[in-house]
Subunit: 203 residues, 2 copies
Amino acid sequence: MEKKIITISREFGSGGRSVGRKVAEKLGIPFYDKELVDQVALESGFAPKYVEENGEHSPGKSMFSYAFASQGVPGIMSGLSTADFLWNIQCNVIMQLAEKGPCVIVGRNADYILKDRSDCLHAFIHADKDFRADRIVRLYGESEKSPESRLNEKDKRRRVNYQHYTGRTWGESRNYDICLSTSRLGVEACADLIVALVKANKE
Amino acid sequence: MEKKIITISREFGSGGRSVGRKVAEKLGIPFYDKELVDQVALESGFAPKYVEENGEHSPGKSMFSYAFASQGVPGIMSGLSTADFLWNIQCNVIMQLAEKGPCVIVGRNADYILKDRSDCLHAFIHADKDFRADRIVRLYGESEKSPESRLNEKDKRRRVNYQHYTGRTWGESRNYDICLSTSRLGVEACADLIVALVKANKE
């Protein structure tokens, strides 16, 4: 079965987004990352920044975001929590994008949301902590927290969110068709492998 | 860094051994599976059958195997349990094989034993339960137990053994450079991907 939709799940700082962008470029198909966030923002009424921060993370330490975010947002009126409301919109947007045709979708538990489609290739991109720590400082700059604690916090929030909405364990190989380490293989090689796999399934 | 040693860890019934054999054939390098068992048997004094059954599994229900297996085996005299004695010999044999040159090593926690070598490519092969159940009946025949319970038992014993000796979680993508699903991608395609990766690292 031809694999038209490629979902890329990734550890923070692993370069999974770059892998996804390269795969989309090499295959000449749309790459949904920022566009997906914008669409969810449009349909939910949340600010894009809020969707980006909370669409694949369990809530951080501050619970104020819940209260503020819910001001005037219609989903809250139906009794759903902010997180559940966001999850529902995200599911719809991702399923609609997949219906539109071949594409690469990064993050947001798309592997689970599209698990029943046989035309998807689900990839997980991970990397050693040192590689990721170095990468986030280069890409996003320093902060008052150590790179190590920034990674731990993001990892934890993604893991909890994934477990909560999918019942699966984050990073478990069985959830994916292919898992690759960018720190061991390189970003370019990971993209090439995924492209080779998609092309092999076309033949 | 060139990847000369390829370790293949695999779920029971996934076809990981076939992937390993194909990779070795395509690269023209030795394939260690039965040979590894024979070498461990030779160095430990255990029967090959015993090594094969217990080298990567936690003990099954019967504890008699412990008592019988230890008759006259020298390692037991040093106070090690049968399992720990077998583990030590296996570590030595695997490290010696890796020293000999390029090869493919299947199973026996070789990914962990060789984790400090940078010239290794560590692969994990898994598959859906239906695919595995069908495969074990075709390869090993029917038994009084259902294929499902045979899979569950083997999975559990490998998971416990791996966790005990490595402190890692069995099947977690972070332990490997590449994880592949044979039920989704096919045995041949998985072998081709690993070969492509090894060749790309040579260039």
